[in-house]
């Protein structure tokens, strides 16, 4: 089947459902980055996040035969990714602070670099301390800028529930980060 780079995501996923792996490759190319972003933000470990991303795409492929364009592709796939992240939490893996990338700072000031790494660790720790649903709501809101309705579809809850999740998450993050020496109160 000739490869159509201009086809919509919905058309590509339907082609995938008919066995077109070229269409699937295009989907991977288009959507790998945001799926990786969510997975890494949520898990904080590179290899585990990579495994989750791979599983998300395989599940998408397996579900492509049944895909109906009643919802946008992004919403549909978002839900798959979210489900996998929440299932990952339910496996009760020990929460560890992920391997943080070294901050490349042109400044020769080692203290600044150390402070930046410590700040990253504090933020990572604060995010990891959130309950699974709150953590995912925060990631979808801040990183993906999804609306309450879109987050509600991904988490399979109501928009009101999303509001409560974000409210509680922000309260906990304020408490956790607000008292840290790395983040000063205004």
């Amino acid at each position: 089947m000739p490869h159509d780079y201009t086809a919509s995501d919905e058309a590509l996923i339907q082609s995938t459902g008919k066995g077109d792996l070229n269409a699937f490759e295009e989907i991977v190319r288009r959507h790998q980055s945001w799926v990786w972003r969510i997975a890494y933000r949520y898990i904080g470990q590179q290899e585990e996040a990579a495994d989750l991303v791979q599983e998300a795409f395989i599940r998408l492929m397996a579900a492509s035969r049944r895909y109906q364009p009643t919802a946008s592709f992004r919403t549909y796939f978002n839900r798959i990714v979210t489900r996998l992240c929440l299932d990952h939490s339910r496996k009760k893996r020990p929460i560890t602070i992920g391997t943080l990338p070294d901050v490349s700072d042109p400044s020769p000031n080692a203290t600044d670099i150390l402070t930046e790494n410590e700040r990253n660790r504090s933020v990572r720790k604060a995010i990891d301390a959130l309950p699974a649903n709150q953590r995912m709501a925060v990631i979808l809101r801040y990183d993906e800028e999804l609306s309450y309705q879109e987050i509600a579809v991904a988490l399979d809850v109501t928009p009101k529930a999303v509001e409560r999740l974000l409210s509680r998450a922000r309260s906990q993050l304020r408490d956790h980060l607000g008292v840290s020496e790395h983040f000063s109160r205004p």
């Binding site: 066995g19 792996l21 699937f24 490759e25 991977v28 190319r29 790998q32 990786w36 972003r37 890494y40 933000r41 590179q46 290899e47 996040a49 990579a50 991303v53 791979q54 795409f57 395989i58 492929m61 397996a62 992920g98 391997t99 943080l100 990338p101 901050v103 700040r119 990253n120 933020v123 990572r124 995010i127 925060v138 809101r141 801040y142 990183d143 609306s147 309450y148 928009p159 509001e163 974000l166 409210s167 922000r170 993050l173 304020r174 980060l177 607000g178 983040f183 109160r185 205004p186």
Partner: protein
Amino acid sequence: MFSCIRYRRQLSAYLDGELSARKRKSVEIHVAQCTACNRILTEMHNLAPILLSLEISEPPSDLASRIITAAHSHQLRDKNRLGVVHAWRILTFQFAWQFKMAVAAALIFGAAMGGFLGWDMGRQKNTIMANTVKTSVNVRDGKSGALDTFGGMQGGSIEAVTLALFNI
């Protein structure tokens, strides 16, 4: 204080632009007058740059190829499984009436064979019983005194007639 509790529940939605125009206006008026709620709102607002400052590691360079390789394997497994399902469907649905006729014929043949075997076995059993009885009667007539199953019978009795019937 009660109103603060009510407004604080809405601060998150206010920050995200998810309130109706009327509620948004109401929150803005309250926050302008309440130092505590104003502080909370500011802290919530300041979370965004902090959270987004967390760097994201680059994905493994071979992630895309791993996904495609896994997809190929998955598709191959799927094809093999579907091949078996397809063959079964051809057998049972596309040749439905032939399949049903074959099953019915097998059932009828099986029943017929079973019936015949049962009848034949019964006939053989009766013959064995008759021979046993005859032997018993002959023994009795031979006055050998051997045991016979139908001991005490007399000629011309119902039992003798029955024995005669067995004597095919």
